[in-house]
Amino acid sequence: MIVYVIRRLLYAVLTFLGITVATFVLIHSVPGDPITFFLGRAGTTTIPPETLAAIRAEFHLDEPLPRQYLHWVRGAATFDFGISIIDRRPVRERILEKLPNTFQLNFLAFAIAALLGIPIGLWSATRSGRLTERASAVGFFLLYSLPSFWVALLLMQFFSVRYDIFPLLGMTSDDYTELGTAGKLADRLRHLVLPVATMTYAQLAIFARFSKATLTEVIRQDFITAARAKGAGPATVLWHHAFRNALIPMITLLGITVPHLISGSVIVEQIFQWDGVGLLYIQSVLSRDYPTVMGLTVVTAVVTLLASLVADILYAFADPRIRLGERA
């Protein structure tokens, strides 16, 4: 088991380095650079060449790409990801202040979607093919295909503009700093309702349909028939035999979903003015803020790799065959 974990860990480190090189090369080879960003901002004014040279020198843009990458690696080794070309603040600080916001939003959406979606999926699996199940499948498909910007605007119109039930935008009210601890928590939760709702409905559909599909698959297997034949009750069959075996694909789904917890949703963050990582990512790419793009890549890569590592280890626990296969 330990050998297995160490081997997986080594793969993860290599993959991580590969990702940083690939991202670095990619972002630098996309046409346009921080200089074009400043040129665009200057309009009809001609920027003096010395000023452009100063910007290039400050961010090593005047050096060959491999040297630039070495500068970056040297910093990154000590968790210094440089400063943003846009606002000159440390990239680490910029990301760390937005990460909790994104995590809060996505974790709530994820948890609600999973807690509602998986039981619904199990329920559907037991009713596979019946009218109620068919109707719910159509319903979930519709839900999944609703564009989130449209749902967000609808929620806003109804719950905020027409009836002043939830705040329209932002993460906190104007008087947030004057509130007590309970007041702060309540205020934050009120601000979370609409964005979380917007993020939940599609994920809920995914969880419900996916867990239904895997469970239906398992129920068709011979060992379930065998369990039934030996006289086990429906609940025992579903819980003890079927659900456990459906766990592996579910772990895969969780492994895929977890990185989304920190990657942020551009649309929801933009519409609700939620100060998260998603908007930071897209804006950094659009303005060619190389250090911030690299910093965000590192965070996303680490979380993705960790998630898949944990998923792999969980497989090994859930399915002894995987462990044995590695040892052999």
Partner: protein, 536 residues
């Protein structure tokens, strides 16, 4: 000495609100106090006015700092920190008299040394003053000096008639604060200036709050607190305006056209639109083998129906352009006609220039080469794409295959600024005092200036050079009127339209006036004359 302006403090502005209020009932008289909720459509990168390079940041710094001179409602220089100024006859020496009452918000007086310090910061490449450094490249630092505490002489190696207005970008910094540490990195989150407001709080991603200074040295604004809320999404911002979370916001054309007719919205929102110094155009690469002939470029322009763009796409909230100046500018020659949509005339001109459709596929050819041109359009703007598509359809009818290429902004700028393109749909934001030298002189090709279409006409070159040396406004006007004619004839661009900016303001806010070319903000007094009516 040529006396450009001696303004006596108060001659022009402070009396205005009282006059306005004279004939109206009591509760319509300007009142002190209240909070104004303004919108910023992007997060603030820096509150330091020197490296700042975007308009939304200037909205904030305009209230915290004072420029050497302001710009008034007609875009003329007006007193700022300087109460009066003189320009030498040769246009090389500017002498500013600073307001002796002026203080920074920490109580220290504003002196000539602070002005010199600010100029030095603008000139220092390390400050990255991308928007202002270019206006001061000819400054002669060795002859620039402080004469006593409140007089400053600023010398140039080259005279430039637009120089005076550029002092509007010199938002004077207190040397005793900004001279410590790293200028570019250490002053992005703080701000201390001599403006009517002082910074209370800046929460990144959320808001900037400023508060009126009790000790302000000039006529105080009416509004006590201004909260700039960062709201990136236009749809959300409009909803916030309807709810009263915001008091003002720019509005997209679609929303404006729909909502300004909706009684539910007009009950609480004042809708207004105005033209600024912005215009949209298609730049043709004048070196391109297919586009080299000015008859061809004229025929291209004749193929594009500006009327339909204005009326069908913008519902009349835009207007057609005829050349490099906008109709509100004095440089605009009203005798130059807008090119009319004339497909038949265009076909004749194409034929004259040697383009015929020999193979009968509907696309013209010359020397065996089909008339196929890529038009770069920046991603993100729906209306830009619609305009480009309309141009594409209409040009197809006159035998031109215009291929619309959507590109990410930086990638587009990368291609365009290198002169590596056929055609591009773009817009310019002009300066309040015109000097299109950088954009159209044949020396200002990529790498030097912004003439990325490689426009080259000796007469235009001569006019551009003469006009930027001519200090007499009437003579400059004659030169630019002629330039307007010459360029309209050459059509290095197809000048398309000016789209009016659309705004919504909560009706509780009063005293709202737009300037000729700048809209509501960035001119004086502008929002300093706004006030908030008592709630019902």
């Amino acid at each position: 000495m040529l006396l450009l302006c001696i303004a006596c403090g108060g001659g022009e502005k402070p009396a205005a609100p009282a006059v306005k209020a004279a004939a109206v009932p009591d509760d319509d008289r300007p009142r002190d106090g209240g909070t104004l909720n303004r919108r910023l459509d992007l997060d603030v990168a820096t509150l330091n006015p020197i490296p700042s390079n975007s308009r939304h940041e200037r909205y904030v710094t305009q209230l915290i700092f004072t420029p050497l001179i302001h710009i008034d409602r007609d875009l003329r220089p007006a007193p700022g920190l300087a109460t009066s100024w003189e320009v030498s006859d040769d246009g090389l020496l500017y002498t500013f008299e600073l307001n002796p009452k002026a203080t920074f918000s920490d109580g220290k007086p504003v002196t000539a040394r602070d002005v010199l310090f600010t100029l030095d910061r603008i000139l220092d490449p390390a400050s990255e003053a991308v928007q202002t450094a270019g206006s001061f490249v000819h400054l002669d630092r060795s002859r620039t000096r402080a004469v006593g505490d409140h007089t400053v002489e600023i010398a140039f190696r080259q005279a430039n008639p637009t120089q005076l207005i550029k002092f509007n970008d010199v938002q004077v910094l207190p040397q005793h604060v900004y001279s410590k540490g790293n200028f570019r990195r250490d002053y992005n989150d703080t701000a201390l200036g001599s403006g009517p407001y002082r910074l209370v709080r800046f929460v990144r991603g959320k808001e900037v709050v400023v508060e009126r200074r009790q000790d302000y040295w000039e006529q105080k604004p009416y509004i006590q607190t201004v909260v700039f809320k960062i709201v990136q999404d236009h749809g959300t911002a409009f909803n916030a305006l309807r709810r009263g979370d915001l008091d003002e916001t720019i509005i997209t054309s679609d929303t404006w056209i729909r909502e300004s007719r909706n009684p539910e919205s007009t009950k609480t929102i004042h809708f207004e639109r105005f033209y600024t110094l912005n215009y949209n155009y298609i730049g043709w690469n004048n070196r391109h083998p297919l586009l080299r002939d000015k008859r061809v470029r004229r025929a291209l322009s004749m193929s594009i129906p500006l009327d339909a763009i204005v009326n069908d796409l913008y519902h009349g909230t835009a207007r057609a352009m005829s050349g490099p100046f906008t109709p509100d500018e004095w440089a605009y020659n009203p005798n130059v006609p807008v090119i009319r949509h004339d497909p038949e005339g265009a076909k004749k001109l194409f034929a004259e220039a040697g383009f015929v459709d020999k193979d009968g596929n509907g696309i013209l050819e010359k020397d065996g080469r089909p008339f196929k041109v890529d038009l770069i359009v920046m991603q993100g703007s729906v209306s830009a794409r619609q305009v480009a598509q309309m141009a594409q359809q209409e040009l197809r009818k006159t035998g031109v295959d215009l291929n619309v290429v959507l590109m990410d902004g930086q990638a587009a700028i990368d291609r365009i600024m290198a002169g590596n393109f056929d055609a591009a749909y773009l817009s310019w934001e002009l300066d309040p005092d015109p000097d299109p030298f950088n954009v159209f002189h044949s020396s200002q090709v990529p790498g030097v200036g912004q003439n990325f279409v490689y426009y080259n006409n000796p007469e235009a070159d001569r006019l551009l050079v003469e006009a930027r040396r001519e200090l007499d406004r009437d003579k400059r006007r004659d030169l630019y009127w002629r330039l307007h004619e010459v360029m309209a004839e050459d059509q290095p661009y197809t000048w398309l339209i000016q789209v009016s900016l659309k705004w919504g303001v909560n009706k509780r806010v009063r005293g709202v006036v737009a300037s000729r070319g700048f809209g509501y903000f960035l001119w004086s007094p502008g929002e300093r004359d706004w006030w908030i009516a008592p709630g019902k």
